[in-house]
Structure formats: structure tokens, C-alpha cells
Symmetry: C2
Subunit: 541 residues, 2 copies
Amino acid sequence: MGWMKDETGLEKCAANHVPLTPLSHLQRAAKVFPDKLAVSYGNHRTNYRDYHDRVTRLASALTQRGIRSGDVVATMIPNLPAQAEAHFGVPACGAVLNTINTRLDVGTVSYILDHGGARLVLADTQFIELAEAAIAALDGEKPQLIEVADPQAGYPATGRHPEYEDLLQEGHADFRWMMPKDEWESLALNYTSGTTGRPKGVVYHHRGAYLMTLGTVISWRMVLNPVFLAIVPLFHCNGWNHTWMMPVLGGTVVCCRDISAKAIYDAIADKGVTHFGGAPIVLNLIVNAKAEDRRTFDHQVEVFTAGAPPAPATLASIETLGFNVTQVYGLTETYGHITECLWDETWDALPQAEKAIIKAHQGVAMPMMEDVTVLDENMQQVPMDGTTQGEIMIRGNPVMKGYFKNPKATLKELSGDYFHSGDLAVQHPNGYIQIADRAKDIIISGGENISSVEVEGVLMAHPAVSLCAVVAKPDDKWGEVPCAFVELKDDVTVTHDALIAHARSSLAGFKTPKTIIFQELPKTATGKIQKFELRTFAKTL
Amino acid sequence: MGWMKDETGLEKCAANHVPLTPLSHLQRAAKVFPDKLAVSYGNHRTNYRDYHDRVTRLASALTQRGIRSGDVVATMIPNLPAQAEAHFGVPACGAVLNTINTRLDVGTVSYILDHGGARLVLADTQFIELAEAAIAALDGEKPQLIEVADPQAGYPATGRHPEYEDLLQEGHADFRWMMPKDEWESLALNYTSGTTGRPKGVVYHHRGAYLMTLGTVISWRMVLNPVFLAIVPLFHCNGWNHTWMMPVLGGTVVCCRDISAKAIYDAIADKGVTHFGGAPIVLNLIVNAKAEDRRTFDHQVEVFTAGAPPAPATLASIETLGFNVTQVYGLTETYGHITECLWDETWDALPQAEKAIIKAHQGVAMPMMEDVTVLDENMQQVPMDGTTQGEIMIRGNPVMKGYFKNPKATLKELSGDYFHSGDLAVQHPNGYIQIADRAKDIIISGGENISSVEVEGVLMAHPAVSLCAVVAKPDDKWGEVPCAFVELKDDVTVTHDALIAHARSSLAGFKTPKTIIFQELPKTATGKIQKFELRTFAKTL
């Protein structure tokens, strides 16, 4: 507590104390990188001068349309330029950005619009009917709806609403951004995917997003002018904050409406993409791509993967293709990634299979975090023995302010000086965290805990398996038994019994799935497998 | 001002708001990089586990010796391990670090100890007599004196004082660091070099130092595990904060008692040094090194240079030797560097001479700064025309809290929302700042302003000139005329008249020096030429 005996005159003032906000990054980029390519999407290519200009006009136009400080502005847009612009333009008029998942049903979107109180919605033409229906279902005052058309992708404006490009023209290029006066002001409102019950509104502050960007630069080994492909939807943890990060490096955001193996390979080969983040399912797309969709490239692509531990078999395959994969871990409540499987070059000499096992660890606290560790139910550190389970606990500035209009849940999840992740994990002797399972994904069979992740890892190692998920199936004798859902690769097959035999060769009997269902797996917009659906289905088997 | 309509329960708490401090970096490094080499000095090689342990013991021992939160602990140590450890250990017990320039006279050191109120001094054996004399000259309570011996460099302990290594043994390895509760708490107290009058005590806060470290990583293109050679004394802006930065990257600090061309080349070739900072005089050392002191190396060394604009001729020479030089600019009041001459790769194709001219610009705001620009006396932006002069004005979190016990000077320098640098500069059309001169270094001759930097640049381009400084000499007719002091390279010579003719070939007559004195230039500990001495001398000519 370094207060000196005489601190007269040493108070904060405008010269030496500026609230931290990612808005500062774009203001600086417009000055120091004016001619660098900022956003690229087909024939839309804006440099930082123009990006800043469009953002300024957006903020100005929103103000003219009555948006005031603290108001919520929602978006329903894929990872396109307007979505990136909203990340700066909405807070630049003092408003709070609420990016809504475009794959939700009308009822849930309507719930979010009502709960968040959005006063204006920017919606892509592809999702305009969803937006219209969700707004129609609202009681009381309805938000303005602005349509973001995308003619180059076959989505011309419907003509039913004001258009985004016209909105920008309403705005003034000399509008003065409303910078936060306090870095604790709200920046974004992100609803959790809500696997059970209503989604909760996670509130981000400017300070947390600013620190996310600087810490990520370090962990992702980024130097100036990276080329980032936006795969993770910006409506999921604001795409892990990478859009806010790019201006500090003068980097380029490459947009893509639909993610496919071909789109990813093309972006790498044609646009020089150097970095992207994605769920393990994206890694599977790349590994299992058809020969005609693949492209060759000379550089190494740095990939952050998160959402679920990637299967060691997938990791082992993808690295031979020119990708360096780093497993990161986080939640909506933590702005995205807050641990990383930091690589130690002494591990380079290990056999590929062992490397892949380490790479599937969630790892250690990222540079901007104060502490990420595994505690027992008494909030005591668990032994770092790779065996003892506890809950991942998180402390640091990139932790949400709390849940919007839900102080009870906020108090519960932020108690005891840590955010409670709800994820069960072990810590290895080197401190690296490895997720055992989400608490609700644990299968309890005859009193024994079974990690669904462990069983999935074994199934994924079978050459015919493309993707799988293991959940609990109720069982009269054992309480629960593991039930596997499996997607096979194209043109390969395996029988039910052969796959069970494969699992049994690596697993204890009680961990071996009793049932295997071959089907396409239900997934969220971010590629997370929707285990709750499978769990519900397994109960009917 | 993004305060939402209902922010109930969204207040800060321990889970989501942690005061920013560079102390966090070392705490994390001890966990994630325990076996990486942290500090290297001859046979002293500590990894992060041991570095953290020594720092913890230091903090504990200081506490046991009565050091309390907000107390000042001074050091008089070259760039050696104990000086690096003090950067963490002193604040880890809540105290404020006051690194004192080891080349000051007894009177000034005594003044600083008295003004800062140091309660304990860590002094290297080489400077123990200076410390003893300065303490003896104090009235009132005297600080404890701890001797930091360096037997491997021929400085065994005198036996007159407690020794540093014994102090560490007094401390406990399980001491719990006193982390700041408020990031505005004071971290360091740095006295300005005080070219006129008494030095002023510049107070740094934890927040500013933390943000310096993250911003510098970006600008210096640092990835994990850099090897940093500490050339800039840690008593000068805490070596520009690089010791605080290294742990976030798992980097190594290479220490060196005496800086010479041979020491620098050896550190690069033998220790793999990748980064260092230094005044232009250090660049001159490298360029003018004797053949037998040079070493070859395979990698590119990234160099930050600051303190004065390096001469284009020096820049042009050094880059062919494997060094990439980036000009940065800052002051003690701004924690060191806050602008950088950010390189645009489109300039790669320019002739070497033009590149060197651009590289001598001070450039643009670094990533952690909010605004660094050139304003006129009415605090209005000057035209960016490369000609109109104004004063460099600085706003951002890495700006001092103020001057210790000098609220009047603080108020003056931090007025109008900017820190007033006192440096005159122009801005080019691309926004890049170029220093014309420190206000006091401007020569006014017949009503015309003469930039001493411009004249120096011309003289430096002469092949016989190693170093030079141009100051005002009083003149009955013109008011002032330029007077040059010149150091020649070994074994080369040039006559007074030939050098004046050389200058005249590039400069207007009124800018051409009327007098040239060949002599060794007086320099500060950081290699800055002490122009005030030359100015005083010039008055006697």
C-alpha cells in the first residue's frame, strides 16, 4: 500500500489518468496506421482511416436517432464489416453493445430484446425475419430496426426498413466519440447460450476488454499487422475480443459469412490469414477437408481453440498441415479465453502423441489474469497431482461486472474473491489445468465419476470417428451409464460393437459406453455440441 | 458513459477488479515460467522460481527491518541482479523504490535522500563511500545502509555494513507480498537529472508501470522469452520499465556492470541478447568499435534508442551490422518512451539516407498512450506541415502522478489535460513528431530560431566526427550564434575551417557554427550530453 507520507498534488488528473477502453486502440490506429487494411470482406476493403470514419458516422447517426449513454443497441449480424463496426460505433456513442446469436429461436431473441431493453437493432438481411418476428412479439415500446443488407452475398435489402449504409450517411464524420469517463462503465451485454433455463445477460466493462486485447497479443505471439480470420462469431464473447484487439497492431479482420473448410483454406492462401480462433469442430473441418478444398501455404497459422478440449487425434493431425494450435479456455463470463496451454520448448522432443495430450490441457493463466486455479469446495487449492478434482476459479480484470438485472446470480458466481466457472478440473504438477468435465457433464455410474471428456478422447482416436459426445443415460442398476453419440467420417464406417470394443481396449469397463448412436450431432452457433439435447434424448432410450 | 439503466449488483469486487501492478507479472512468471532463466550476471544465474524467492525474501527482510507501506527505500546500484530484485522486492513490501544515480556528487545524493526521506539504502560496494558520505551529511534520522557486494567483479564487501545476501537470508520465503489495494499507489520515486537547480522527484504509480510493460511488448515486436541486455541504467526511468516487463514474457535480463562495445558484442554473441535500449552514444560505441571487440551473430538485434535524436549517419551505419534501431522518445515524467518511430514497410524501398532521416523522427504515440501531439501556446494543434513548431504534449496513463512535495510544479506541468514536455517539435503530414529542440537548446540568432539538432546532424555526417553538441554562444551583434563542441574518431582528423566549410555546404549561413571546439564532451550517466556545461563554457569564450 504505497501511499507516501506526503501525496499533496499527486491526485489523478486528465493528463495522467485515462480510462482504459478498446476505443482508444481504433482512435490511435486511425492516426498511426491510416492506410493499412482494417477490414476485408469480398469487395468491401476499408483501411483504418475509412474504418474510423464509418465508425464515427455510425456513432453519430445512433446519437441522432435518440440513442443515449447506457442505452442498449443490439445486433443480429454474422461476422461481417457492420458487426465489426458496431463493436466500436455503439460504445463510441456511449451505448452498450448487445450482439445476439443469429441462430436462436424467435422466443429467445424476443426474451433477450425485452430483458436487455435494446432501443435499436441492426439486423442482417438473412436474419431480418427473425428480428421482425422477435420485435413483433415484444410488449411495450419496440426498438428501431435497421437492416444490414449484403448484396454481394445474395442478400439485397428487403426495402422494409432503413438501411445500414444510409444510416452511416446520416452521421457526421466530425462526431466526437463519447469516451468512457470511468473504465468500469458497461461496454457489452452478452447472453449466455443458456443450456438450461433462460439465458443470462453478462455485462462487460471497458477495462476488461482493453486488458484482454493487450494480454492476447502476448499469448498469441502477435507482432504488427496480423491477418485475423473471424471464425468465432462476434456474438460469442465478442469473438473473444479480437476485433477490439486488431487496431492496436494495425491488423486486418477478414470476414466470412459462412465457415467451411474451403473458406478457411482460401482465406489463408489468398488473404494471408495468420491467426484465427475456433472450436475443435473447426479443427475437424480442416483435418477432414476434401482434397479439392485444400490449399497450400508457406506460413504457419496460429490457432486458438476453445469451447471443449480438442481430441488428441485431431491435434496430432492438424499440426502437420501448417497450423500451430494452442488450447485456450474461458467462458462468456470471462470475456472468452483466460487460460492458455503455454508451450514449453523442452516438450518439442516428445513423441507426437504425448505432445497432443499436453496440448489438450487448458493450461495456465494468461498474462492479463491475476489467478486461475483449481479449488476445492472450501476454496482451498487442490493438490497439483493430476488426479484431485476441484472447480476452476478465476480472478482478474477480464471477469464480467455481473449478470444484468440478476444480482442474486452475480453474488453467487463472484463470491469468495473468485468467479466460479462451474468446470471441474485437475491441476498437473506443473500447475497446468486440465478440465475433467463441466460439472453437469460428469457421469456417475455405480458411485464412480466418469469423465465424458476422457471417453470422448478414446472414441475420437478411432479412425472412422469424425466427432462424438458422451452423456449419461439413466440406468436402473448403475444410476447412470455412458451413452455415446457419434458422427462418422465420409466414406468410412465402423460397427456399434467394433467401436465399443475399441473403447474397452483403453477404458475401464464402467467407463465404456453401453450404447452408441450414429447420428449428426446438434451444435450451437459456435460449434459447441449441445449436450443437453443429447442428454434429454438419452433419457428416452 | 455506458452506465446501464439498472446496474444493481454490478459493482467491482475482488473477483473482477484487481489493481494493475507489474508485481503481478513476476507472481505469474514464478508459476508459468519457473525454470526459465530470469537474471544472468556472470556466475549469478537465477530462474524465475529463484528470482521470485529472492524477491520474496527481500520484501520480508525489509518488513522485518521496519520498512512500512509508503516508506521510501533507495538504491545506489549499477544494473546488477540486486537492482532488478529491488524493483519487485521493495514494492512487494509496500514501499516506494528510489533508484539513485550512482554518478551524482555527495551533495546531490544527500539532497535526494533527505528530500525523498529514504529509510533504507541498498548500495553497491563501488559506491559505498558515496552512500556513506551522503548519509553522513544528513541531519536528523539516518537511513539504514545495506551493502551489496560484488566479489566476482572485484568488489568484495567492506565489512562496514550488513550485507545484501545476509539480508535475504533474514527474510522468509513464505512472506505474502503486499499487493497494492489501489493501482494509483506510489511505486517509484525518480529524481530528474536536474540540469538546472535541484532535481525534482517524479512519482510513478503501479498502473502506469503495468501499462508501460504491455504497450512496450507490442512496439518492440517482442514474443516469448526475449533476452534483454540492461544498458540504460535502472536508475533512469527504471531502465524504461523493462525489468518490470520481462516476467510477462518469461524473458531474461542480462546484467553488465560496465558498458563497452566489447561487452555489448559479447552479450549478443554469447548470451543471445535480442533487445536493448540505449542513448545514441551507445550506437556510436557499436559503430566505432575496434575490430577486435566486434563479434558476429546470426539474429537481428532490436534496439530502442532515446535521449537525443541519433544522427542519420550513425543510423545508416549500424543497420548494416545486424541491428534494427527504433527511435523512441520520452522523459522521466513519462516512465521513459512514449512515442516510437513506427516503421512502415513501404519505406523499405527508400535510399538508406532517406530511411535514416525518417528513423531519426520521434514518431507516434505508443500503444499505451492516449495522445502525444504537438500543440501551440494556446494548446491548439499545430499544422502537420513539418515546419510549424510547437511543444510536445502528452496524455496517457504512463504519465507521472506528479513531483514529490512540489504541488506547484506538478500543477504547472500537468495543466490543460496534458503533460508539457518542454520539447519543441514539428509534426510531419503523416503525424510523425520530430523534435526541433528542447526549448532551452534553441539558439536564437538575429531573431531566427536555429535548431541545434539540425546543426548537429550536419556535423555528424562528416566522416571524422564521432560525437558533437551545438549550443548558443552569446554574441553582441546577433544575440546568440551557434558554437559546436566536437569529439573526433580515433586516428582521423579534420581542421576547424574544413569542418565549418562542411557545415556551410548544407546549412544557411546563420546556422553555420562560428566556433568549433575539439574536446571530449561531458555526459550524464545515461550518455546524454550535458549541454548546460557546454553552454556555461561557451559564455566564457
